[in-house]
């Protein structure tokens, strides 16, 4: 699967963000988001594989006034495939799921994933009731779709076709308590 450089893709996706909260799946998407610039509204998961989409859903339902982006990989999304159906059932207009799809499990030795064998995650999202789905394989396409992320006008799914390269690791903070406090404060909640 050829595709965009994942670091460039995430940098363009998150450029000029305003109120966006970014929840990342574990592994490369977390590194990519951190490499694009750490932010008080970033929450990096280092485990809980399959949990990024439902975490973003719970946050989006709690704060309809805040745009929420889940940035994850094809392997993490596949592990929690049912969560797409749960999100599709609730349809919060302020939630976008973006999957960096390289067709491989990058963290564990580049084994091929189901998306390399024909599984179509954007098709799944469409089938379970997402308001919009896009597949983008060029940076210009990301710029075109970027305004949707903060628009809060419909549950969205964005498939970003990226190359199966391994950029140098950029390691975000790992302390879960710190990340919790940081995001809650950024959203105007009490620290605990």
């Amino acid at each position: 699967m050829s595709g965009m450089d994942r670091r460039e893709a995430v940098e363009v996706l998150l450029a000029n963000r305003r109120d966006l909260v970014v929840v990342t799946g574990l592994g490369s998407p977390a590194y990519d988001a951190f490499a694009a610039g750490d932010h008080d509204r970033n929450l990096y998961l280092w485990g809980a594989m399959g949990g990024a989409i439902p975490l973003g859903l719970g946050l989006a339902l709690a704060r309809r006034d805040v745009p929420v982006l889940v940035l994850t990989g094809d392997g993490e999304a596949l592990m929690g495939l049912g969560a797409l159906a749960t999100a599709g059932a609730k349809r919060p207009a302020n939630l976008t799921i973006a999957v960096l799809d390289n067709g491989h499990y990058g963290e564990t030795g580049m084994q091929a994933s189901h998306t390399a064998m024909g599984a179509d995650l954007a098709g799944v999202a469409k089938a379970v009731g997402f308001a919009w789905t896009e597949t983008v394989s060029a940076l210009a396409g990301i710029e075109a779709v970027r305004p949707h992320l903060e628009a809060r006008q419909g549950l969205g799914f964005l498939r970003l076709v990226v190359a199966a390269g391994e950029p140098p690791r950029a390691l975000p903070p790992r302390d879960g308590h710190r990340l919790k406090h940081r995001l809650r404060v950024a959203l105007g909640q009490d620290a605990t």
């Binding site: 809980a48 399959g50 439902p54 719970g58 946050l59 049912g82 059932a89 308590h177 909640q189």
Partner: protein, 168 residues
């Protein structure tokens, strides 16, 4: 609604619960219906119980308190994700209706039913249990207090004797 189910729902209202994640179970039926009917509660049906843990972590990050409702078989589906509330210090109250114990007809429910408490405890969840209708309210209330004040994962097992024999 049975009295003890109403006690659960009242405890949820007192604890200012705003999100509920659930996989349906007959023992939770009345509470689920009450949650779905309450405009102040966002009730989310899950495809698997493990979704409920990050769902409620996300809710808490957004300033809302949540409760997860499931049957004992669902605890097995949650194991890895139960690390999340512990790692982040996020409250996670769970109400678990038991199968595979007193008066169980279906042997297929027994292995996970018997493993429910040790599995929860192995993942650092504090476990309480209610077997009598008149103790449910107080136990659930205290479990919510502990979860939200001490920011930890707390489960209440609702015994099969409390729920009653399933009719086959």
């Amino acid at each position: 609604m049975e009295r003890w189910q109403d006690d659960i729902f009242q405890a949820m209202l007192e604890a200012r619960i705003e999100q509920v994640g659930y996989v349906p179970d007959a023992g939770h039926k009345a509470v689920i219906r009450a949650c779905e009917a309450d405009p102040g509660i966002e009730a989310t049906v899950l495809t698997t119980e493990e979704e409920g843990i990050p769902l409620l972590v996300g809710a808490y990050l957004g300033g809302q308190r949540g409760v997860l409702l499931m049957q004992s078989s669902g605890v097995g589906n949650c194991i890895n994700l139960l690390g999340l509330p512990q790692l982040m210090g996020v409250p996670l109250p769970m109400l678990v209706t038991m199968r595979g114990e007193w008066a169980e007809f279906n042997g297929w429910q027994v292995p996970m039913g018997q493993a429910t408490r040790p599995v929860l405890e192995a993942m650092g969840v504090i476990v309480y249990r209610a077997d009598r209708a008149d103790e449910v309210g107080e136990i659930v209330q205290g479990a919510f207090e502990q979860a939200f004040n001490a920011e930890c994962a707390v489960a209440v097992l609702l015994g099969q004797k409390l729920i009653g024999r399933k009719r086959w």
